[in-house]
Symmetry: C2
Amino acid sequence: MARRSGRRPGSPDTREAILTAARTAFAEKGYDQTSIRAIAAAAGVDPALIHHYFGTKDQLFLATMNAPFDPAEVLPRIIDGPREETGNRLVRFILTLWDSPAGAPAAALMRSAVSNEWTARLVREFVVTRILAHVVKGLDLDESEAPMRTSLVVTQIVGLVMVRYIVKVEPIASTPPAQLTAAIGPTVQHYLTGDLPAGLRHAELPARTSATS
Amino acid sequence: MARRSGRRPGSPDTREAILTAARTAFAEKGYDQTSIRAIAAAAGVDPALIHHYFGTKDQLFLATMNAPFDPAEVLPRIIDGPREETGNRLVRFILTLWDSPAGAPAAALMRSAVSNEWTARLVREFVVTRILAHVVKGLDLDESEAPMRTSLVVTQIVGLVMVRYIVKVEPIASTPPAQLTAAIGPTVQHYLTGDLPAGLRHAELPARTSATS
DNA sequence: GTCTATACAGCGATAGAC
DNA sequence: GTCTATCGCTGTATAGAC
């Protein structure tokens, strides 16, 4: 948890020091803007050691992504409970995740997904399939509506995360989780189980736009 | 509009060629990931010419930002009309802006704001103050509620833009603007004029979180 | 195991020849 | 006006000495 401060010659847990330094660095700057040298400096080790332990920069990034949380253990906290409060539980889960140490890899992933194609794919598969797919599945929705409902939920969640943790716009960045949940949870709930406007109920997506002005 | 393809020795409108190439490059890669050399190659000019015309890379970026649209001309399209449909008009405006050529600078700004501090400030001031502040002002809201309502709107708008234009998650990325407006407009409307949960009605933001788990 | 030294590529920016 | 050449810097990655 604590960042390595001084020099650490001959430390046995150099590997862990590199990992934690890499986590915070990636979380703050994103993948592209984080240099191996900077990670090495923060960890108090030599840059060459990083390559020695983890190989390439990509492999190091993936190593920091491992085991931020266990989906099987955490999913019930979103799924179990009254159906009408799934939105609240989802928002609350997101906020507690990001406010915890496990939020650092998530921040890194978000920051990197914007300018990096393969991390963007990681986001889609990780967040969408590993979390939201299970949540939606437990709500016995019309299967043809599920993708659109999921996407709408993603817009609200991604926007919340971006504004609160990445761009840090006030007052959202300083609002307590409980109140934020009360404000945004109902929106997510509506996207999950509320009425969808006619036309996007089913997955019929016309190639033409009808009215834009 | 069309990207310069071949070589253009001695062209009189080299400046414009550079600008359009820069716009699309910044829009696709963001500020940091776009190199002067890449822009020059796309425009079919020499890298040194870019410095000659625009000075530094920052100045070139700012030059591409100029005049995507005129707020004074476009704001009435959001403000004028029934108060209960302001959310719809706002979402529709965002979608038409981003689907138009003027969306390229906006995309560049969004992509860059994530990893770049001074472009993030640009986003906050440009989008929030130059657009949303005027919209909110026209709704005769409780002044103490305005910042929180604006922030909530920003979460939904930013999320929509991120999912549709930056990360391009389906089916949102392919949904016609009209149907997207119908789905998300009411959310924005609710954040603007709907009931806020007790506790964040006013700007009293306790430093402690009350209940997170 | 750990670190010094360095190879190699790409960046923004500048000077100056044509 | 346009382009060649180059400087100074930073990045990843590797080879090899201790």
